[in-house]
Structures are given as structure tokens and as C-alpha cells.
């Protein structure tokens, strides 16, 4: 069975077949999704296309062409019909960036950081505090905000805060790293876990003595970056509206804008991560992961390089944090729970520690599972529960099914199962890390 499948794959992976397959997936996914924008199956078919592009052999130009077609045209257009699709991809991009950042710390430098969510929180709260009315409410009691409060900064400052988020998160990474990097391995995991909680608890409690974070209620509204000028929007409306079949509202444009912003950031993150990996810095990180004693004997300053790993990893989370705060227009300490750190860790492990394509795949798969597949299962089950259907043979009526069995509540269970299965069966992940093969000009035997 296995050989049959791999033979089939080999045959399909020659000549023009990969191109045909990629086009078939793209077109089938697009057409069915266009007719039925809520179909999970069609969405999965469409999302398989990038995976095909990555794995199968075809000219680079065609890969780029199909990729751009999907990302720039198909997804935004369908996304306006069903806004949830853009939301899913936005979340995928956010988590992929987080996972890539954590991958630098854990996958490359081998430092087990269980408090990674803290850096995400720093980026988010940076824009949340300055991009909302919070600065005008510093001395008012949480929840009793005067109605006439004003936004502290103009929405356009968001662009600056995207970079400030990076810087602040990196700085937090260094400040955390300085005392923490004296400990190793398990101890480091525990200390960082504590740090992650400290940041969350700070966000929870910094509503007194001055109301910086508005405590457990969180900060809202947070400003979004302004949409492009009306002229540009008119231009897009002119060809989008006939395609979509209804008027495109500002809210929908915001979704498209955040979708593109997330994609631009994730693209930059991927480039930076890939370039760092294949350089003196990335080699030093891997050397530290492999053998600290040998690494330091080669002249690699351990503390400096570990701090650099923390800062680089944190900076990705900082950027995405700021973007997330603007997208949700709301942050609260709840968003930055330990659960998120573990979720991101699951993505890294599922994809493959140290493997950039693996980690992106892991983040996409877990996000999809969380917010699409489990939710859809839940919906399906609740439909069944409301029907009179009965499971045959055992004669069990669906409506007697307990509410506790709602798959959407299984996130933690799913994370746990993924971690256990991966560690037992594929400890190096679904797409294991590979070292770059260089042109050495050696004759092969």
C-alpha cells in the first residue's frame, strides 16, 4: 500500500503533471468555494495547493505565478464573500510568525522557552495602550471611563508602533535573557514559564496605582491603521463588486487590509528567519544547541548569542502582537495565557524543530484545526443533537449527547495528543529540518 502510494507520487511528480495537479486543486477549490463560501472541504482543497507547490517539482516561475494568483486575487475575492476565510488566514499568519520566532529560540538555539507569549503580549499592549484612549484614562477607575476621552495618538502612528513593538519585544527578550540564561534546560523552561505568567499578571493588575492596562477588562477600542485613501478604494470597488456581487463595505476592506498586512509581515519574517539560519549567527545558534562546551571553545560568546536568539525570536512576536491588537481593536490578559505558549510550541514540534517550512506548516495546520475543523465538527454535532437522529445498532439518540463532548472544547486535548504522538512517532516533525547542501565540486561516488 505504502509503496503503491509512493510509486504513484513519483509518477505524478514528473513532467508537467505537478502543474496540472496544482491547477486542478486551485480551480476546483476556487470554483466550489466561490459557489459555497462556507464549505470547509473546498477551503481545504484550495489550501492544499500551496502545499503541492512546495513539495512537487515544477518551474519556479509557475510556482510563484500560482502562489500569487491564490494569495493576491483568489483569496481576497472569496474572502469578501466569506470574511471568515480571511480571518483564518490572518490567524495562520500570526501564529506562523510566532512559531517562526519560537523556532529560533527552541529549534535553532535549543533554549526551551515556555513563556514566549509574553513577547506577543508586549507588542500587543504597546499599541493597545498608546493606540487607544487608555493614555487619557490613566487616573480614572477601570470601567468608569469618562465618555469624552480622546484617542491619545492618531491611527497613523500604528505604522511606527509596528516597529516599536518589534523593538520593545526584543528589549524584553534581552532583559528576560540576562538573568535567565544562567540556567539551562529544564530550569530555563521553568523560569521562562514563570516569566510568561508574570507578564500576564502584570497586564491583569496594572490598573492600579495608575490605570495602564485596564486590568482584566482589557483595553478597547484600539485604533486600526487607516484604510487607503477613498480613490484607491473606489478603484478596487470597481472590479471587486461585480465579482462578489454586493457592495464592499469598509469593514470588509479592513479585513482585506489586515490579511495583506499579515502576509507582508509573515513574508518578511520568513526571509529574515531563513537568512539568519544560513549565516554565522544561525550556525552559532545551532552549535550552541548541539554542544555548548564545544561552541564556546570555538569562540562563540554564549550569553551574547543566546540573548540574540531571544531578541530575534521575541521581535517576530512583537510585530504580530501590535498587528493583532489593531486587528481585534481589543486586548485583554486572557489572550496571552500560558495556553498560547503551549499552542505555539505544539506548532513548532508538529512541523519540525528547527525546520522553517515545517514550522509554517505546523502553525497553519494547528490553526486550521483549532478554528476551522474543530468548530465545524462542533457545529455538525450540535446540528445532530438538535435532530432526531439516532446512532443505529447501539440505539443512541444524538440529542442525549452531553454538551461536554463539544469538540471546540478539546483544544488542549488536541495539543496534548499532537505532542505525545509526535514525540513518540516523529520527534523531528512532519517536515524535518534539513541542512543546506552546498555545491562542493566534489566527485560523487
Amino acid at each position: 500500500m505504502k509503496t503503491l502510494f509512493s510509486d504513484l507520487y513519483k509518477k505524478a511528480n514528473t513532467g508537467f503533471w505537478p502543474i496540472v495537479i496544482a491547477f486542478v486543486f486551485m480551480i476546483v477549490g476556487t470554483v466550489t468555494l466561490f459557489q459555497n463560501p462556507r464549505s470547509l472541504g473546498s477551503f481545504l482543497v484550495l489550501m492544499t495547493t500551496p502545499v503541492i507547490l512546495y513539495f512537487m517539482k515544477m518551474p519556479m516561475k509557475i510556482k510563484v505565478f500560482i502562489g500569487l494568483l491564490i494569495v493576491v486575487i483568489i483569496l481576497p475575492v472569496i474572502g469578501i464573500k466569506n470574511i471568515f476565510i480571511l480571518e483564518v488566514i490572518f490567524q495562520m499568519a500570526v501564529f506562523a510568525a510566532l512559531a517562526l520566532g519560537l523556532n529560533i529560540v527552541i529549534g535553532m538555539a535549543g533554549l526551551l522557552d515556555l513563556g514566549y507569549v509574553a513577547f506577543y503580549a508586549v507588542g500587543a499592549y504597546a499599541w493597545a495602550i498608546f493606540g487607544s484612549k487608555q493614555m487619557s484614562l490613566l487616573y480614572s477607575i477601570p470601567g468608569a471611563a469618562p465618555a469624552n476621552a480622546e484617542f491619545f495618538l492618531d491611527a497613523r502612528w500604528f505604522w511606527l508602533f509596528l516597529f516599536l513593538g518589534i523593538g520593545l519585544a526584543a528589549l524584553t527578550g534581552i532583559l528576560l535573557g540576562l538573568p535567565v540564561l544562567r540556567v539551562k534546560g529544564d530550569y530555563l523552561a521553568i523560569v521562562t514559564l514563570g516569566f510568561g505568567e508574570v507578564i500576564r499578571v502584570l497586564a491583569l493588575n496594572l490598573d492600579k496605582p495608575i490605570n495602564l492596562t485596564n486590568g482584566p477588562q482589557g483595553i478597547t477600542p484600539i485604533q486600526r491603521p487607516p484604510l487607503p485613501p477613498e480613490g484607491v478604494l473606489m478603484f478596487f470597488r470597481s472590479f471587486l463588486e461585480p465579482l462578489v456581487g454586493h457592495e464592499v463595505s469598509d469593514a470588509e476592506f479592513y479585513n482585506v487590509m489586515f490579511y495583506f498586512l499579515a502576509l507582508i509581515i509573515i513574508a518578511i519574517v520568513i526571509v529574515v528567519a531563513t537568512r539568519l539560519e544560513d549565516s554565522r549567527i544561525g550556525r552559532a545558534w545551532t552549535a550552541i544547541r548541539e554542544d555548548e562546551t564545544a561552541a564556546i571553545a570555538m569562540g562563540i560568546p554564549l550569553v551574547k548569542m543566546k540573548l540574540a536568539a531571544f531578541a530575534a525570536g521575541a521581535s517576530f512576536a512583537g510585530a504580530m502582537g501590535a498587528l493583532y491588537a489593531a486587528n481585534r481593536t481589543f486586548v485583554s490578559p486572557e489572550t496571552f495565557s500560558f495556553q498560547v505558549s503551549i499552542g505555539v510550541l505544539t506548532m513548532v514540534i508538529l512541523g519540525g524543530l528547527g525546520s522553517i517550512p515545517g514550522v509554517i506548516f505546523g502553525a497553519s495546520a494547528v490553526t486550521l484545526l483549532n478554528i476551522q475543523i474543530l468548530q465545524n465538527l462542533s457545529l455538525y454535532l450540535s446540528d445532530l443533537r438538535q435532530s432526531d437522529a439516532v446512532i443505529p445498532i447501539i440505539n443512541f439518540a444524538w440529542k442525549d449527547l452531553s454538551n461536554q463532548l463539544d469538540p471546540a472544547k478539546y483544544q488542549k486535548l488536541v495539543f496534548g495528543i499532537i505532542l505525545i504522538l509526535m514525540m513518540i512517532f516523529r520527534p523531528s516533525g512532519l517536515i524535518p529540518a534539513e541542512r543546506r547542501q552546498r555545491e562542493l565540486g566534489e566527485e560523487k561516488e
Binding site: 539568519l276 550556525r283 564545544a294 571553545a297
Partner: protein
């Protein structure tokens, strides 16, 4: 003047004196060995030299600076490279990458060069790769540049470790039992390699070695340690006939018997 000079170096672990008042020197351009029974403190002394341990007392002078209080990476930056008793490679990196890591100190690219892939970055990487290939050829590694280091056989791993140390262009190379676990043929090759390192690259070699054929065959100067102290030093011939050395290795009774037989 000596390249490396230590003065009354003492390293204690709790009540145990692992290295006791080691006064020791290595002249530039020489191949020098430290021998001694197991547990004599040789590796501890190496670790003290390279900054892994900080000695409680004494001075260590290399070229014209003191090594006391320097971290291992700072010691490496002064021009001391080393290999380890139990091979310590970066197993899941390729052979070539292991050697590139050895060049960490020489490479000048920073984060900005790396992220923007500046011209400087490309030139430096190309140059480093070229040098790494030359080093692989120098130590006799063929067609394995893209293999993961952990997949190489034992002898190959020893060679990588030496190439990685050479990549740092050191003035002094410390080898900790470099021929341990090798058969006589392999040891013979290793001796040739060490000579070439000294003769062609002008690198001074200080090694710890147990294999007496290797020690006697290659060393120009030998120091003998026992119980953390230097008990003898001199040329191979002098060491071979030194009473205290024989005692240290064979025990007093056997040494006396040995004497009588001779």
C-alpha cells in the same frame, strides 16, 4: 620567550587538588606533550588553560596577555583552539558547517549584513566556504562536506574536530588525546597530520596523549603529571629513563623490578 607560560597554577574541586602548582611553558613552534596516568589532572589543566575552569591561584600568560578570568570564547579569540577527549562535534550540522563554526571569530558579518545579504556577506561566505574546503582536504576528508557530522566514522570525526579547530587559525592548538581509540595505522596518519599542521601552518601544538608510540614519536618536549603535579619534563629520551615517571606509571615495586632487570 615562551608562547604559553603558566606559573603555579592551582585548581581545586572542594578538597581535591586537581592541578597543583603547575609551572609549565610551551615554546613557539614546538610540539609538546603532557602525559600522566589516568586522573593525573591533564584534562583539568587543559580546561584551566582554555577558560572552562578558573584557577584558584597562579598566572597563565599567552603571547602578551594573561588568560586568567577570560571566558572560553575570549581565550579562543586570543588564538588558542582545542579538540576534546571525547569528540564534541555539532552532530546534526554538516561537516562543512562544523568547520564554518570554527571560523566564528574570523567572520565579521553582522545581523544587518545577514538580513540584507550585503555584498560583504556574500564575499565572506564564499571565502569561508573555500577555506573550509581547503581545510577538509588538508586533514584528508573527501566527499563528505554535505554529510551530517554524526554520520561519519570515528576517524573521520576526529579529523573534523581538528579541521574545525584549525579553522580558527590558532597560534596554539590543544589536542586532548587526539589518537584515542585509533589503530596503529590511523595513529601513524594522525602523527603525520600533526607534523604537517606544525610544519606547513606553523601552529604550535600542545597535546595530551596516552599512546606512548605517538608521544615518543612526535613530541619535542614532554611534561609528566601525576596527582595534579608536574613530576618531570624533558626530551622523550630523558622522560623514558626518568625514575619518577616509571614509578608513576608502574608503581614503586614494579619500578624497582624494572630497574633490576635493566
Amino acid at each position: 620567550m615562551a608562547l604559553l607560560q603558566t606559573n603555579n597554577v592551582v585548581k581545586r574541586f572542594g578538597g581535591l587538588i586537581a592541578v597543583n602548582k603547575m609551572t609549565f611553558s610551551v615554546d613557539a613552534g614546538k610540539i609538546v606533550s603532557i602525559i600522566g596516568p589516568n586522573g593525573a589532572g591533564k584534562t583539568t589543566f587543559f580546561n584551566t588553560l582554555t577558560g572552562i575552569y578558573t584557577p584558584e591561584e597562579g598566572q597563565i600568560q599567552f603571547k602578551d596577555h594573561s588568560l586568567i578570568g577570560l571566558r572560553p570564547d575570549q581565550v579562543a579569540a586570543t588564538g588558542i583552539a582545542r579538540t576534546f577527549q571525547n569528540i564534541r562535534l555539532f552532530g546534526s550540522m554538516t561537516v562543512l558547517e562544523n568547520i564554518l563554526v570554527g571560523m566564528h571569530i574570523q567572520l565579521k558579518q553582522n545581523a544587518v549584513d545577514t538580513i540584507f545579504r550585503s555584498k560583504k556577506f556574500h564575499e565572506e561566505e564564499k571565502d569561508a566556504e573555500q577555506r573550509a574546503k581547503e581545510l577538509m582536504a588538508f586533514v584528508g576528508l573527501k566527499n563528505v562536506g554535505n554529510e551530517l557530522a554524526r554520520n561519519l566514522p570515528y576517524g573521520g570525526q576526529r579529523r573534523i574536530e581538528i579541521a574545525r579547530a584549525l579553522a580558527a587559525t590558532p597560534t596554539l592548538l590543544l589536542l586532548d588525546e587526539p589518537t584515542a581509540g585509533m589503530n596503529p595505522n590511523e595513529s601513524e596518519d594522525a602523527i603525520k597530520l600533526f607534523r604537517r599542521i606544525r610544519d606547513e601552518k606553523g601552529i604550535t601544538i600542545l597535546m595530551i596523549e596516552h599512546d606512548m608510540r605517538v608521544v615518543m614519536g612526535i613530541s619535542e618536549h614532554i611534561s609528566v603529571m601525576d596527582y595534579g603535579e608536574k613530576i618531570a619534563e624533558g626530551s622523550p629520551a630523558e622522560i623514558r629513563s626518568n625514575q619518577r615517571v616509571i614509578e608513576a606509571y608502574l608503581g614503586r615495586g614494579a619500578a624497582v623490578a624494572h630497574e633490576q632487570k635493566a
